[in-house]
Symmetry: C2
Subunit: 276 residues, 2 copies
Amino acid sequence: MKERAAVWFEGLRDRLCVAFEAIEAEAGSSARFERKTWKRPADDGGEAGGGVIGVMRGKVFEKVGVNVSTVYGRFAPEFAKSIPGAGDDPAFWAGGISVVAHMANPHVPAAHMNTRHIVTTKSWFGGGADLTPMLAPVPEDTADFHAALKAACDRFDAAYYPRFKQWCDEYFFLPHRGEARGAGGIFFDGLDSGDKERDFAFTQAVGMAFLDIYPQIIRRRMAMAFTEADRLMQLERRGRYVEFNLLYDRGTQFGLKTGGNAEAILMSLPPLARWG
Amino acid sequence: MKERAAVWFEGLRDRLCVAFEAIEAEAGSSARFERKTWKRPADDGGEAGGGVIGVMRGKVFEKVGVNVSTVYGRFAPEFAKSIPGAGDDPAFWAGGISVVAHMANPHVPAAHMNTRHIVTTKSWFGGGADLTPMLAPVPEDTADFHAALKAACDRFDAAYYPRFKQWCDEYFFLPHRGEARGAGGIFFDGLDSGDKERDFAFTQAVGMAFLDIYPQIIRRRMAMAFTEADRLMQLERRGRYVEFNLLYDRGTQFGLKTGGNAEAILMSLPPLARWG
């Protein structure tokens, strides 16, 4: 399952890159993803995995990062206690894909998608996708994004969408601003239904739903005219995105504070942000 | 002492604003500080203090915040345990001034200064000042900034400067980048020498040293020609500043997570920042 999950994440990465590069081509740009491989240093000098950072700076995508990683080893004793199934045996394996797109046109919402598979003495899947409008949210975009994720959820369990939507709303919230990060989506973690094939299939469905719907939303909005005020609002909203990721995002905080690859982790930060 | 400290912080705020506005005037700008008063909500509906946010967006100062605050009340029980002298009695009073300057010209370093007085069943002073070059640090600027702070320290205790300089280097460090935030300065906390008048006088001296030296450094560099590459480097360095403040700064983390005034706390963030 670990090998199959890793291969799936890489394949989804390839499909997303192709889809995003096709949008650039439609806009008359020849922008392409640049890839950079990194190795995770092992304490004992052995193998500990690594990943590939993919980044494209284009005409439609001001900056989009599509990262995959496969890391393994042993958690630090103190940290292991907080991870399901790692209390007695700190050995772990973790693979995943993470996408964050910051768009040039303020009418196009930013988006985030991440899916992962973690293995200790237990194993589970996690992930989600959420949309962050830069201007007043367009009901059609929000509705279609949620509908795509709901359809993926409903094929597996009618309880998934309402539960994972609420989880997303709770997770992507900035308490110090009293505001949501964006228009929501779904968020799930620790998914272990007892049927691993089914959980893996659901995780794949989330990735495919994102691959299907986000390019549609981009194409609707990418050529719309915008004002300097729209651009300033976009940069201000991106400031909030930075605040969320650095103050609250568990993956970011954990990764940076435990010696993760800073460039890969911070690929989520926008190319330009403003605090007015 | 509380009243005198609060009055001092406000007076220093006024002097800094006058000094910074004079620099704008020299550059042919009529930029002035705008002030905004905020009240801290009290749990019981009573008085809990508040502060004044001062911000100027000018030609030389792209954005500079000079905030004063005087807050009081009772710490939450769990938090009180971590504060000296608040374990048995959670009543507190805290007053301070905080300055962060993000400059238009990349040749002018950004700077930060903060001094504060905290009273529980104990009482102490804290603060510091540090310089953050946006391009390659200019040895003259770094040397003069440190010399001004050292002179202030040495009038009180020859051990202060080496100790507070090291504290600053350790505090303003980004472990995930393996780099210092800037060219350092001094940082001190929990200062209670047994002679409160002397500690207050030292705290004042730190503020006066900053008021003296930072405008000198600004005037040296504010009219220098710079390139688009310099500007991009400046925006990139500001991204690191954001990373430090949101990931590691104890005051920011504590303030935001305990219902502090978000606008005042985040006044330290730059007007524009870039992640390349």
